[in-house]
């Protein structure tokens, strides 16, 4: 007999292999401090401290203890950590003890022992499946009110709203074979594969390998595990990931895994999300022991037999001295022997008429009742006795622990993720995969319905050879088909976590929910954090019996990822805070920041929206000030973000010609032309200027928003549509910093900075281009204007962008050069009537934006959109066309998106919208609120007429006169000046 030892007041089995009794660890549960050992889980440590009540159930607030020793735990759900680090709904069976660990029970008030909501349990016979939906339907409007109360009363833990200070990270891993599960089958498979030279990753959710085998008391088994582990550790082509749950299998050999990482230093992640890419996978995922459904089968002290074996042999915790084991199979008899060896009183209640290992237990002093079942567990907040039913007789049996085993269910979740659907096998009396092998996966060990230790090892080795071990499948535990005890008198839980009891399934069936999927959703069976791992098969059996059909006919529900819960923080990894989204910065970004610019997100770019004079200056005042300055003096704006594409090759001219609606092959070197680009369907795609830099080189500009789309469009045309053209396109957006100088004084400023270049109106006229140097640095100067003023866009290599900006400001100070932001840039272009993305939204044609003549005059044989742009409907005079709007009331400004109606009032009678507002601003030059809009019939029908721009969301109506969209300098005299 092995003598238990007393350590810190707890009786521990000194042969325990999973804990280091030399290292004590202090932890707190519900505010009380306890001590455990290194290697303990929270569950084992609490059991060692004789704490059996750990939680309250979801709906009825029934007292709950530990029922498993693994990730399938449905009962011992606790809140881990405190403050910002709090993590609700964690399983006590999976929490490794660490010094100072803090855990609390959840879903109870005011305390775990005295939970007021446990009153629900008294009314539980009324709170059946569908109760809330049936009861709180009237009045329907009140459901939103009821829902809050119901959710508050029933639920799991509460997540914190504070920022998670823990680090979580991600890792991409690649291998030839991923072995999931490091039990006997997984270990043997990994070794055999590694011996073939394969690059192997073996992952297991537990911190130590061995699977269920490590819970055995045999030294031989333990030695075998250690030997295999050390062999694997010695191999360079094997990576061992412990405390790592492969939670999902996805297409293309991609697997998701979550590692509870070791805290090696202050920067180690707590959770690490692995994305594992494997050519093949071996699923050695083992099997889960099933509970048996009987009265009060959720009382603390009732646990699965394997769990008790784990606590006794691995963690060394002996949570009781008087133990009843209830079974329908042989797998519990080793546990009975272990317990007898430790001096416990053992009574086995075996539902079968005969059990071969019973004799040995009787010989060792244990009691075995055959043809008997546990009908009910009894006790207040923890088990004290069981009511045994045998051949028509009932009797009570005292106990402090009840271990149960209803047989084993292979863990086939990952295979199910990949599309395999397990079915019930009458011979094995459990679910099983029809095919153990697919093109890239193979299932071995207990996951394949193989129970014997040696057979599991053999199946792993066979998998390495590509062979399945179907022949090794058997009901070697002699499991009998017992899923629930009909003689029970108390609430019999099928799904512990969702408080789904036997009558709930019967009720669902009676109410017509015959499909297993419907029963699942009606009763919530198989949902929540445990996903019904311990409940599903029993529920299928109960439903099959209720329906009077076979288990195969009932079918199975679909397992979906994740296998076990994955914290959102793990998915996010380091993509939080500063790293939430990458930021694109222009070369002048830091100058803008240093000088108080208010930055605006434009896609991933940061752009200066405006430069407030002081803290009190608001956006409207600032942009009006800035644009007034540009119109009267000179301003400069950072336009680096505009897309810039270099098009090179001997066919570059022809290529650009085909891409744009208007001609470009005739463009002279050193000249710029505005171009409109259509899509194949004839609508406008983008616009911008393109410059002929050299005979075989053009530089195209695009809007900031369309920079990537246009590049992709050009690449597709180049590579797929016209591969015969000798052209290459390069994005040079990042190569050049762009600064636009605009205003009457812009030329004077430019003259101050260029090295020996003539930038006079004659030498560099509107739409001219000059390649020169500024302070010796290569500079490209484009005489183009977005604002409508005399303007130049200067490009220098981005490395020099900020220096040039500062130099311009210095040299331009004599001419009152000031920076302006995107807000005033946009307002200036609205005054000028230039279109941008707001107008070119994919629904507008060249005719709509006033470039119909460009299309009429186009005689080119090939250009994108050439056929569809000439569709009759595109010339329909009723189409919405670009116009300008001026508010008749100077105090009223427009809202973008306003709908334009002919009537001042919106009535209940639906009317057609005449159009909509796309861009609006205040025009300081005109001292009016103006807007660009599309209106049916355009200027030819509406010029100088009154319309109404309605913005119903704000109950805003602006009376407006329809005018030309060119609010200033319609002849373009300024920009040519």
């Amino acid at each position: 007999m092995t003598e238990p030892t007393t350590v810190n007041g707890a009786v521990r089995n000194e042969k325990a292999s999973g804990v280091n009794t030399q290292k004590r660890i202090k932890f707190t549960f519900d505010g009380r401090q306890y001590t455990g050992f290194e290697g303990d889980t929270l569950a084992s440590a609490l059991l060692a401290n004789d704490v059996k009540l750990l939680a309250r159930s979801f709906k009825y607030h029934r007292p709950r203890g530990v029922i498993t020793a693994g990730s399938e735990e449905p009962n011992a759900i606790v809140e881990l950590g405190e403050g910002a680090c709090v993590e609700p709904n964690t399983r006590a069976t999976m929490i490794r003890l660490s010094d100072g660990l803090v855990a609390n029970s959840q879903n109870r008030w005011p305390s775990l022992k005295f939970d007021i909501s446990s009153i629900n349990n008294l009314f539980s016979r009324f709170l059946v499946a569908g109760f809330y939906y049936k009861t709180f339907m009237w009045p329907a409007k009140a459901w939103m009110f009821y829902e809050k109360i119901i959710r508050k009363a029933a639920g799991l833990g509460t997540a914190t709203r504070k920022f998670d200070p823990d680090r979580h990270d991600k890792l991409n891993q690649f291998c030839e074979v991923l072995v999931v599960g490091a039990g006997p089958a997984g270990l043997s498979s990994a070794l055999a594969l590694a011996a073939q030279g394969k690059n192997v990753i073996i992952a297991d959710e537990q911190p130590a390998p061995g699977g269920m085998a490590r819970y055995q008391s045999h030294d031989k088994t333990r030695q075998w595990i250690e030997e295999k582990l050390s062999q694997l550790n010695a191999l360079e082509n094997v990576r061992i990931l412990l405390s790592t749950t492969v939670f999902g299998a996805y297409d293309g050999g991609c697997y998701g895994a979550l590692e509870h990482a070791k805290q090696e230093n202050d920067y180690s992640p707590r959770l690490r999300y692995h994305r594992i890419y494997a050519e093949e996978a071996v699923f050695a995922t083992g099997a889960l022991e099933r509970p048996i459904v009987f009265g009060n089968n959720d009382l603390p002290g009732v646990m699965l037999a394997y769990a008790l074996r784990a606590y006794v042999n691995y963690y060394g915790v002996i949570p009781g001295k008087n133990i009843v084991i209830f079974t329908n199979n042989n797998s519990v008899y080793d546990l009975a022997a272990d317990l007898l060896d430790l001096g416990c009183r053992v009574t086995v209640i075996d539902s079968r008429a005969d059990s071969e290992p019973a004799g040995k237990i009787r010989d060792s002093g244990g009691l075995v009742y055959n043809n008997a079942v546990v009908a009910d567990a009894k006790g207040w907040q923890q088990i004290e006795k069981v009511s045994v039913y045998q051949k028509g007789l009932r009797f009570d049996q005292d106990c402090d622990i009840l271990a149960m085993s209803g047989g084993w269910t292979p863990t086939v979740h990952l295979q199910s993720h990949l599309g395999s659907r397990p079915i019930f096998n009458d011979e094995l009396l459990t679910i099983n995969l029809t095919e153990l092998k697919t093109e890239t996966t193979i299932t071995v060990g207990s996951a394949a319905g193989i129970w014997d230790h040696g057979d599991c090892i053999r199946s792993g080795e066979m998998a390495a050879e590509g062979e399945t071990a179907q022949s090794l499948q058997s009901n070697s535990n002699a499991t009998e088909a017992l899923y629930y005890v009909s003689q029970s008198r108390n609430k019999s839980l099928v799904d512990y976590q969702n408080d789904v009891a036997l009558p709930d399934i019967w009720l669902a069936e009676r109410e017509g929910y015959r499909s297993v999927e419907h029963v699942k959703r009606y009763t919530t069976l198989g949902m929540a954090t445990d996903q019904g791992k311990t409940a599903n098969l029993n529920a299928l059996a109960i439903l099959a019996q209720a329906r009077g059909c076979s288990m195969q006919q009932v079918g199975t529900t679909t397992f979906r990822p994740p296998y076990t819960p994955v914290a959102m923080g793990a998915y996010a990894g380091r993509s939080v805070g500063l790293h939430f989204s990458p930021v694109r910065r222009t070369a002048i970004h830091h100058w803008h920041e240093r000088n108080g610019a208010v930055m605006l997100d434009v896609g991933q770019w940061k752009r200066p929206q405006y430069y407030p004079l002081n803290e009190s200056e608001r956006l409207r005042d600032a942009y009006v000030r800035e644009m007034t300055h540009v119109r009267s003096k000179v301003g400069m704006v950072d336009v680096t973000t505009l897309g810039k594409i270099s098009i090179q090759g001997t066919d570059a001219g022809e290529f650009v010609n085909r891409v744009y609606l208007n001609r470009f092959d005739t463009l002279k070197i050193g000249k710029v032309r505005y171009g409109v680009m259509l899509r194949e369907d004839g609508f406008v795609f983008d616009d911008g200027t393109t410059t002929r830099i050299a005979e075989n080189e053009y530089m195209m500009t695009t809007t900031t928003a369309n920079a990537a789309s246009v590049l992709l469009f050009l690449e597709r045309l180049n590579q797929v549509v016209w591969p015969e053209l000798k052209v290459h396109v390069f994005s040079v957006t990042d190569q050049w910093a762009g600064i636009a100088l605009a205003g009457p004084n812009s030329r004077k400023v430019l003259e101050q900075v260029v090295d020996d270049a003539d930038v006079s109106n004659d030498a560099l006229p509107f739409m001219g281009f000059l390649e020169t140097t500024i302070c010796g640095v290569q500079a490209r100067i484009f005489r183009i204007s977005f604002s409508g003023e005399v303007a130049y866009e200067i490009n220098v290599p981005a490395d020099y962008g900020e220096s040039l900006w500062a130099y311009l400001l210095e040299k331009g100070s004599n001419f009152e050069l000031k920076p302006y932001g995107t807000e005033s840039m946009g307002a200036l272009r609205i005054e000028k009537g230039h279109v941008v993305g707001a107008e070119l939204d994919g629904r507008t044609t060249v005719q709509d934006i006033g470039f119909g003549k460009m299309l009429e005059n186009c005689k080119k044989p090939i250009f994108i959109g050439q056929y569809y742009s000439r569709r009759r409907l595109f010339n329909d005079p009723e189409r919405m066309q670009l116009v300008g709007l001026v508010s008749t009331d100077k105090t009223m400004s427009f809202k973008n998106g306003s709908q334009i109606l002919a009537e001042p009032e919106i009535t209940d009678t639906p009317v057609d919208s005449l159009g909509y507002v796309t861009s609006m601003t205040y025009s300081p030059e005109r001292d009016e609120n103006i807007a660009l809009a599309f209106i049916s019939g355009g200027l030819s029908r509406w010029e100088d007429k009154i319309v109404y721009a309605h913005f119903p969301l704000f109950k805003l109506t602006v009376e407006a006169k329809v005018v030309s969209p060119h609010f200033i300098d319609p002849q373009g005299e300024r920009l040519r000046g």
């Binding site: 990270d169 991409n172 690649f174 990458p582 694109r584 070369a587 190569q735 050049w736």
Partner: protein, 201 residues
């Protein structure tokens, strides 16, 4: 004449010294500044090789590879596409001599920031954000990967040496500072040391 200073995209985030976990072999990071970089797109590989070899003593690399000598480094960046990085001034003139009959050439010296990383933990660090297999036996000296870090940062990674793991990461300039922050953060658990930037040209 007033001189305009070239400024690195990493300037505001480049903090010299050792950071993160205090381990024996931290990752070493530094910027390679002043490299002259050109994108080269080729229609006739042999013709371009015929021009490049006498001028730079270098040939265009095979798919996924690089060719390196003391004057330049040529990285394969796609079918018929290459990135030429050179530290020597004058390389641009040599490259410009390459006829545009056979190829197109584009100066990208300011378009990319180049970061060199070195150390045993480099691969583990990069594996955090790279969905490409960079195991030692797969991603070997001289090989080139075009991918993105963390699904966002477009990069070219050149395995400079597997003896002491050394990689050059070419990142689009506008993303460079954001990527640098990511790189430093990802290196924290291994410890990292930022050393003086290398100056070329």
């Amino acid at each position: 004449m007033v001189k305009l200073n070239a400024r690195s995209a990493l300037e505001s985030g480049y903090v010299l010294g050792t950071h993160g976990a205090r381990l024996d072999n931290p990752i070493r990071l530094w910027e390679r500044r002043g490299l002259i970089m050109h994108n080269l797109a080729v229609w006739d590989t042999e013709a371009v090789n015929g021009l490049l070899q006498p001028q730079l003593g270098i040939r265009l690399p095979e798919t996924g590879q690089s060719t390196v000598n003391s004057s330049a480094c040529v990285l394969w960046t796609g079918p018929g596409r290459y990135l030429i990085a050179a530290g020597e001034p004058g390389t641009a003139e040599i490259l410009s001599a390459v006829s545009d009959e056979h190829c197109a050439l584009q100066d990208m010296s300011s378009a990319r920031t180049v970061v060199r990383i070195q150390g045993d933990a480099c691969r583990s660090m990069m594996a955090k954000g790279l969905t490409v297999n960079i195991a030692k036996q797969v991603f070997t000296t001289g090989q080139v990967i075009l991918s993105s870090f963390d699904h966002h940062y477009p990069v070219i990674i050149h395995n400079v040496s597997s003896d002491i793991d050394t990689f050059d990461i070419y990142i689009t300039r506008s993303f460079a500072l954001s990527f640098w922050h990511w790189l430093c953060d990802s290196s924290l658990e291994f410890g990292y040391q930022v050393i003086d930037a290398e100056t070329n040209g």
